[in-house]
Amino acid sequence: MKYNKLIQATLLSSAAVIGLGKNVYASEIGTWNLKEKRMTQSDLGGVGLLQTPTARMANEGDLYLNYRDNEQYRFWTVSLTLFPWLESTVRYTDVRTLPFSSDPGFSGDQTAKDKGIDFKVRLIKESQFLPEMSVGIRDVGGNGYFESEFISASKGWGDFDFHLGMGWGYLGRSGTISNPFCDLKESFCDRGLRDGEFLDQGGKFEFDKFFKGETALFGGIEYQTPWAPLSFKLEYEGNDYSRERADQTNDGIVTQDRKWNIAANYLYKGFDFSLAYERGNTLTLGVSYKFNLQTAKQVKFVDTPYSMQERRKDYFENPQGDNRLRTTLRYNAGFALSQLDADKSKDVVTIYGSQEDYRERDESLNRIGRTLANNFPDRVKEYRVVELSSGKPMVETVINAEKFIDFADYVGTDSKLEDTYVRQSPSQESRGAYEVGNAMGFYYGAEMFWTQSFGNPEAFYLYQTGFYLNGGYQFTPSIGIDANAKVTVLENFDKFNFGVDGFESPIPRVRTYVREYVRRSRVMVDSLYGHWSDEIGDNLYASAYGGYLETMFAGVGGEVFYRPVDSKLSYGLDLNWVRQRSFEDDFSLRDYDTLTGHASIYYQMDDWLKDTQLSLNIGEFLAKDKGVQIDFAKRFDSGVVVGAYAAFTDVTSQEYGEGSFTKGFYMSIPFDLFSLKPSKGRGQIPWVPIGRDGGQMLNRPVRLADMTDIRSPFYDR
């Protein structure tokens, strides 16, 4: 999942984005009221004026895709309001006046690229006498072309919005005021960077520079015209462009004739077009597209769930009953049935299988319950739904039939679905009656992949796409073998002009051979291994595996994992001995081997921050470095999950190289948001600014956290 510089996504993202723009407003009455202030994006991404940020925050879950273009720079940015008080922005900058490197043989005629990450945190909300105030940092992930810190205040007055900020670094370069912190402490007077000097390692949080050096005020006014689509901006800058990446040698490529910038924004069908005149000499064009991850929804063409007003109840009498139940469970309720225990003499019906279509539990249970109630007579008092994962009973939902039918028939005005069922570990009875035969034998499948990488010297965008062909044999529900072949269909990885970077690396190269692996062959063995997994105690699971475990490593390993049903906390321990695979052929191995393993903890933090999960992996990583990987994920109402992770190990940032430490972001999108039919699949779009060898984990082929996910899911609830 967390790959190197190359980025994996199971399906494409851009083509599908359009559908997300739809929001659900029209379905609610009373929404003619215009609730919100219009937020516009700055050139560098994030809510703001042009060059400068404001204190304003967009709505929770607002995701902006932005593009800005002028003579010296192009900015591609994605800005997400993760919480009402936190905005994060990632940015690729194209410096149009500079070559990517001094060697055309290395990077052709490509111009220089940089990436950066910004954060903005709201300190106070606006009120009668106080402005909205925010504090932020810019450009912490890249080489610091635009690195700055700021404090900003915004105050509205009807259709006007006034902004005033104080900036350090790029935003404060004109030094029009004295640094207030400098008066307090000598060390704040100097930022420690000289003309023409930029950070070469990048990727670090340079805390030692924060709020130091030249300081300037900036600000501006926004005006919403009476014509709703049109608004104007006027901005006063704090930067004097004296230290500019696009004009490193001060040749007059970037000059400032005026400190005032102006712009007009025009909104058309979700697209916000902007035209700006900056520095008294530069025209900037831009477009932003916004959608909201909370409200994104998709129209579905599905069968209506069964009504309780005309139940057939004839399963036991009708010779077609069994056939009909199986079909309707699959097509109306999305439940793939693998075993049915229904006996005329008993008042309990048990079904075994898995939910394939409906990712929300309420909808899934509502449909399953209605389908069962439609088929079985009233003397059946209990429906038991045993959900399987990897052929093993994982969780059992006991539905009280009478209560459920009353709920589904809308008897009374306050019956709730959650009062009609109990989720529990599969009972002894249900386990005993489970016929393991259904979980054995051959299986096969295929899955599409899309690997992409931004900001390479050969070309800005590199991609590879094709299929993983998967097959295996299950000897018992616990023991099996599994193989994955990677078949590349389309790629431009042939543009690679080097395999391994030229840096001296003091730590073992466990991931930086990635280019060698992915370009070796169009068809390759990705994994081939035997595995065992089982429940070894109450809520306790164990697994063992051995073989070619992932693209780059082979070996043996095992895991134990503890996960009660619907518990906020689950944890486990894994240990592996692995040896690096050769990138010259499918089966030979290299000399490097290591022991790697982690204690892992998953904690759903709803009590603290709604819909979030924190995961920790503590242990020894692939390059024998020791430390912790922290992963934080937030789920939005639409089902989209956004997360970030970072690994902190005993490798120093000098040893680590560019990027300073392993970090990455990911967005998991339910395919359901784009399709007209329901589905449970998800596409993962990771973004790893730069991947090196420190803090890298083994991609274990059997992960008990995944296998037991339906016991206490975080992604789909």
């Binding site: 009455i29 215009l34 009668q128 008897v411 009374g412």
Partner: protein, 241 residues
């Protein structure tokens, strides 16, 4: 003797029968059902009485235990607030307290009550199983109500297309209220928190029959009063009178 026994028995029988029956009061007209009816059949009776404006129709039942205890909690919180308030505030809180105490409450069912919807969609056509209901249907209201931290309940004509601040221009009306926000209970039972201050360009029009709650001044740094305001609004939703 035998006669008496029969009388007692029949009394018993009628007692149990009435316990199972459902009575519904539609604008004063009383209906009794022996078997729990679907909402649509009740609304069918209402439709015979006139042409009603469904967005402002309300259905209440008599499960009031929780609501009454919520009222008592709110009253005690207001009294607590009263004990350490300034003289100016005292009057406002006392007024509010009197209002909350005087409310006649039943439990409002948070669902859209609409004859057309009830006939089309099952989920808007529940079976009514409590023993007593009150259905309020009316023609399209031509007023909006303002209550809360104002001296008296104000009833104002509804102004089509008017921004909410137009209703609140009278300084006497809201000089004790929070200066930035008001709460609106829409006729169909949704609560909106509306920013009506000078620094916002939010545009909000009241629906006919909407109720505006002028809240106690909220603090930026503590959510105590804010949550009390929200509880008062939620309680006000269950007001019959």
């Amino acid at each position: 003797m035998k006669f008496l026994l029969i009388t007692i028995l029949s009394l018993f029988i009628s007692f149990f029968a009435s316990a199972k029956s459902v009575t519904i009061d539609i604008n004063g007209m009383k209906l009794t059902y022996d078997k729990a009816p679907r909402l649509s059949s009740v609304l069918k009776q209402a439709v015979k009485q006139g042409d009603w404006y469904w967005p402002s129709s309300k259905l209440f039942d008599n499960k009031t235990t929780e609501i009454e205890s919520e009222r008592q909690e709110i009253i005690s919180e207001l009294k607590l607030l009263l004990s350490d308030s300034s003289e100016r505030q005292t009057q406002v809180i006392t007024d509010l307290l009197t209002q909350v105490e005087s409310w006649q409450l039943m439990r409002r069912i948070s669902m859209r009550i609409d004859y057309d919807l009830a006939r089309i969609k099952e989920q808007f056509n529940p079976r009514l199983i409590e023993s007593h209901y009150l259905l309020r249907v009316a023609a399209r209201p031509e007023i909006v109500n303002v209550f809360g931290t104002s001296h008296a309940l104000a009833e104002m004509p509804h102004l089509p297309g008017a921004h909410i601040s137009v209703y609140l221009q009278d300084d006497d009306l809201d000089c004790h209220a929070d200066s930035d926000y008001v709460y609106v209970i829409t006729p169909y039972g949704k609560v909106d928190k509306v920013n009506r201050s000078y620094w916002s360009n939010e545009r909000y029009e009241l629906a006919p029959g909407a109720e505006v709650y002028l809240p106690l001044p909220e603090s930026l740094f503590s959510s105590e009063v804010e949550s009390l305001n929200q509880r008062i609004v939620s309680l006000a939703m269950h007001r019959v009178k």
